[in-house]
Each structure stands twice: as structure tokens, then as C-alpha cells.
Symmetry: C2
């Protein structure tokens, strides 16, 4: 379902009237394709957006003219032969103006060409200033993420029923990926993690040839992209039977997860959420085994602002969509991670992911 | 199968003794992960290679230390906390030296940090100078590409037998992708193209909901990655029966493909190969419908040097691996492309791709 045309108009006019253009820059060149998609709807893999309030011009080459006309109906289009020529053409120089650009989304090589043409002193590199552009989601975006999470959950629920000792991590990951694509996912949001036994103690394990065995804990961290938006969820299953230690630590991780979720509401610092998840595990002497941040924003990218971590300085705002994903990793033994993606709602966390997070024995 | 250790030593020492370091630079910072893999074996997704002949140091962060130790056994390792700090630490300044870096593989934002630390005047941006670093393949690389092409061909051969009217382009593409991964491919080399009917007239069509119909031409352009190396091949099948016009144009495209293949040998300019493919189609008045270059190099990336096009200034060298892929696209009607990946051998083209290129009616 395409967005209402006004979603893009709203986003663009919000950016145009932001403090951004009150200060030292009069125009902005965007290269990051997710930011361009967010502001215009254009989903092609090459293009530039030039904003000089109140106008925004999307620049594309011949491959993308038709697609841009269809997708970016609220934005003026410019068809370039050469990208630098195009940017120069739409940015008619005005005396003394300064032009911000996304310094992390452009190569030094391209920057050099641009600086030669536009005069280096007019260009102002921006980096962190734009980090939060997409952090607060509007209703259309939340609906997309919700649908992506529903699609993903339906697939994992079906695939989980088929998990048996004897199949490999890699084949299980393939079943999830293939199921998601059959169900209509554009692609996976990231390489699906299926980590079992000692591999589950590695937070970023790649699914390998290891065969799932009776008694294994299996961490499945997966997400799909649907309508451009990502889902992100982690389930830890137990295959066969679980000993008391696994049950106990699962309950601790779940408690950490639940306490962090309960603390979510507008106005709470992200660092506080991280602290709550972490100190819950600390009560049981497990915080040393929780070796990553508690969560991150999810949207057009699977990792975007805000970060839910110790040193985040972001305050939660209604409309942010973030993951909560505490874990405990016992090196050489096994690991457990429990992750949901949630909307920061005025009343608290609205959980978008669909799989139950109770201890599930397959 | 891992490369013999000496393959990396050979590549590094060839680079170290090249004209590169005879001229104005004394050290080189590589950011491109394919170039780093080529020179060291390291296949992680973040790292930096600093070369000051005769030494080469691979810099990685904590996530990749173990992997780098295993994969990059011929290269010294440096474990950094901060990437710029690490580069500064291994590049002890020497008076008057200049340091080349890959300007297209680093963001302006990172460049700024580096220039602040190393002094901008020491840094020399390189771009086209490094384009041909990987163009000539050694035997190990050719074996990898050959195995990737064999894996891919086996999958398409099996899937092609199942193609029937009524399935969608997207589902056929999924069967190919899933089959390839089941057969051991790391991933697809690019998004598989399945384009039928009028979609086949778009060289870069995305597989969509269109249902394959009796009489359709179906362009399948696909490649797998195996042991890091890509394959690239295009077959055009006919579903059901073909009229004379389709048979005739298929034969013309095949003739163009075959003539280009026959012309391949060391010493021939890439532009000449393109011209041969193009003028063959021109004999039949079809060159106006051949709207892209004739081919490109294939290796760790599916598109790499050299380009087989009108304005290429590269001369074929024994050991290059390139595609030959002429096509005819009749807008709104249908299209035909025939593509093989071949090794430039002293006696001519050694075809690495495996599917037959005769006119196949399914």
C-alpha cells in the first residue's frame, strides 16, 4: 500500500522548517538512499536529493526516470546525464550561500568532483546532525513495520514447527528466508542468524554446517523487509529438553527484557532503558555475559537511530520504533537472546513483533 | 578449498614491486574489502589494509581478530579500538612520504578524520590507478569461478526442467536462488533476473508478479558466489513454441555472441570485441536494439575490470575473465540476451559457464 502523498510532503516540510535551515546552511544535498526514500518515496538504487527550502528536487539518471515519476510524485524531478553536472545545474549559486551535504554517504572521490565544481568553501559536511531524521515514525511507517513483523512471525511460527534434530543451522536459516520470500517479503532485513549449541554464545554467529542436536538452545535472529520497512526479532528455542540452568537463565533474560519493555515511554532516556535491562541481569551476576547494547531503532534500515545503550544521549519520543534485546552468552557453552521490536506509545511499549517469548521447547 | 598461502604472497609482492611505489607514493591504505580479500584472504566486512613495501598490515577490530588470524595468515595483524588511531599507529610518519588511499572506497566523513590525523598534504587520493588490480586472475581464482559457474549451471539446468506456464517470474527466481543456496552457494552474485514477455525487453528488469505464458521468451540472468567468487550467465528460453521472428533474432544474437567469443585472445582490445559483437548485429539492422556494453570482468565482484565496451582502453591479457553478453531488446515486445563468462586463454576463450546456448524451447 503506497503512502498517502501527504506523508512525503509532511516530512519534507518538517525538514525545510527545521533548525537546519535557520542556521548556517541554505541548501542540502542528500545522498543516503534511505533518507531520499523517506523524504520522496523513491526507492531506486541511485539518485540525489537537493533541498533548498521550500523546493526539493530529486535527481536521477535515465535508468530511474520512470520509477521516480511513479514513486516520487511530490518532488520535482531532474534527469541527469552526469551526476555532478546535475547537482550544479539545480543548485544555482547564490552569493554567500552554504550547502550542507551528507558526509558519511558520499565517497571522497565524489566529494572532490563536487568541491571542484561548487567551490569547496560553499560545502559544509554534515554527519550527526541528520542521524535522527527518521527516528520518529509516522503512522504509515508504523503500519509498514507492523506488517513486516506480522509476515515474519507467521513464517517463523510455521518453520519452527518443522525444527528437528538433524537439520543444519544453515538449512534452517534457508527455510526461514525462503518462507519469508514466498510470503511476499522483498528481502531479509539482514542475514538470518541461526545459532545453536556453543554457536549461540556468539551474538553475531553465521549459520553454518552445525547440525541441530537434542538439548540445543537455538537462537534465531531474523527480520524481513516489506514495503521498504524492516522487522527485527529474536527467539531462543530449546530442542528436546532443557536442564534447570537453561530454564533459569532464560527466565532471567526474559525478566530483563520485560523490565526494559515496561520502562519504555516518551521522555525516558535510552540510556536508562539500557541500564534497567543490564541491572536486572546484574542482580543475578549475569551482566558480564550481556556483551552488547540493549537495542536500536528500526525502520527503513534495520539499525538506525536511536541506540538503546549506555552512552546514548537520546530521549525516547512517541513514535520511535526500537528493539529490546538483552542476551546472556556463556562462551563455549550456549547463549540466549530475546528480542522484540516495539513502538514507543504514549502509554508505553506497543509490541510489533508477534512470536511468543515464553520458553518454548520444540 | 583455501588458496595456497603463496597466492596472497604473490599478489602482495607484485603490488609492492609495481610502478605504484616507484613514483610519488611510499605507502597505500586500502579500504575496499574485495581488494583486501584479494591481497590477504580476509573476508570480513570491516577492515583496512596498510601497505608500505615490503610490509603489509591488516587492521581489524575485535569482532574480526579470530577470523583475520585464520584467513590472513600471510599478513601481519593489528587489532584496533578506533580505526583512525589504528591507521596512524601502523603508519609511522616518515619525513616527506606520501600515502595513497582508495578515494572511491572511503566516505568523505572518514577522510576528514584521517586527514586531520595524518596531515592532508601527505594523502594522495587514488581512483583509476587501482582499477586493474584484480583484472588478471591466477589459476586459483579461475578454479573458483569455474566451480561457481558449474554450481550455477547445475541449478539452472534442474530448475529449467520445471518451468511451466502459470508460475510467476518471482517464484522462478526464488527457485533458482533457493536451489543455488541449497547446493552450497554463499549467496547470489546479484539479484536474479527473470524477465518474460515484454519485461524481457528491459535489460535490468526485476522479477515480478507476471505469470509465465505460453509463447513467452524468458531471460534468466543469474550468478552465484562460491568461495568468494562470482559466476554470471544469461539464458533466454522459449516457453512452448516460438515464431520465426523470435527464432531468427535468437540466431542473430547467438551469432554476435559467438563472433565475439571467437575474437577473444590476449592482445585484442576490449573495444574491438565490443565492436565485433555490435557490427554483427548491425548487419541485420539490429544494433540499435543492443543498448548496453558487450561485457565486463568477473571475479570477487560480479562487475569489475575490464569493461568490454566501445570506449574501453584495456587490452585483453591472458588470465582475464570476462562476460560476453549481447542482447536485442524490442521495447514493448520481448528481448533476448545470451551471456557466457569466459577465461582469456592463450589460444582463445575458455568458456567457464555451463548452460548450452542453443535455442531452447521448454
Amino acid at each position: 500500500m503506497p503512502f498517502e502523498r501527504t506523508a512525503y510532503q509532511t516530512r519534507l516540510s518538517r525538514l525545510c522548517s527545521s533548525s537546519f535551515f535557520q542556521g548556517e546552511i541554505q541548501a542540502l544535498i542528500l545522498f543516503d538512499l534511505n533518507n531520499i526514500r523517506y523524504l520522496t518515496g523513491f526507492s531506486g538504487s541511485d539518485g540525489v536529493l537537493v533541498i533548498r527550502p521550500p523546493t526539493a528536487i530529486l535527481l536521477v539518471d535515465g535508468r530511474y526516470v520512470t520509477q521516480a515519476q511513479e514513486e516520487a510524485q511530490d518532488t520535482d524531478l531532474y534527469h541527469y546525464q552526469d551526476k555532478v553536472d546535475g547537482i550544479e545545474a539545480v543548485l544555482e549559486p547564490k552569493d554567500g550561500d552554504r550547502i550542507g551535504f551528507e558526509a558519511s554517504a558520499v565517497s571522497y572521490e565524489f566529494y572532490q568532483k563536487l568541491a571542484d565544481r561548487l567551490r569547496e568553501e560553499r560545502l559544509k559536511p554534515l554527519s550527526e546532525e541528520l542521524n535522527n531524521l527518521r527516528a520518529v515514525k509516522d503512522d504509515d511507517e508504523v503500519s509498514c513495520i507492523r506488517r513486516a513483523a506480522e509476515l515474519a512471525g507467521g513464517v517463523l511460527e510455521a518453520v519452527a514447527r518443522t525444527i528437528r534434530p538433524g537439520i543444519s543451522e544453515r538449512d534452517l536459516a534457508l527455510e526461514i528466508d525462503f518462507g519469508a520470500k514466498r510470503a511476499g517479503a522483498e528481502r531479509m532485513a539482514f542475514e538470518t542468524i541461526v545459532a545453536s549449541g556453543a554457536n549461540a554464545a556468539l551474538p553475531h554467529a553465521k549459520p553454518g554446517r552445525k547440525i541441530l542436536e537434542y538439548g540445543d538452545l537455538i537462537v534465531v535472529d531474523y527480520g524481513v523487509v516489506s514495503e521498504g520497512y524492516c522487522s527485527d526479532e529474536t527467539c531462543t528455542f530449546c530442542l528436546g529438553s532443557a536442564d534447570d540452568r537453561k530454564r533459569e537463565i532464560y527466565a532471567r533474560v526474559k525478566e530483563s527484557h520485560d523490565q526494559a519493555l515496561e520502562a519504555i515511554r516518551p521522555g525516558v532516556p535510552c540510556s536508562r532503558i539500557d541500564q534497567i535491562a543490564r541491572s536486572c541481569l546484574a542482580k543475578y551476576g549475569l551482566d558480564g555475559y550481556f556483551t552488547h547494547g540493549t537495542g536500536h531503532g528500526v525502520g527503513l534500515e534495520v539499525h538506525e537511530a536511536p541506540r538503546i545503550s549506555r552512552n546514548s544521549d537520546t530521549i525516547l519520543v512517541e513514535g520511535m520504533v526500537v528493539t529490546i534485546e538483552p542476551g546472556v552468552y556463556l562462551p563455549g557453552q550456549w547463549g540466549i537472546r530475546i528480542e522484540d521490536t516495539v513502538l514507543v506509545h504514549e502509554n508505553g511499549a506497543d509490541i510489533l513483533t508477534k512470536m511468543p517469548k515464553d520458553f518454548i521447547i520444540l
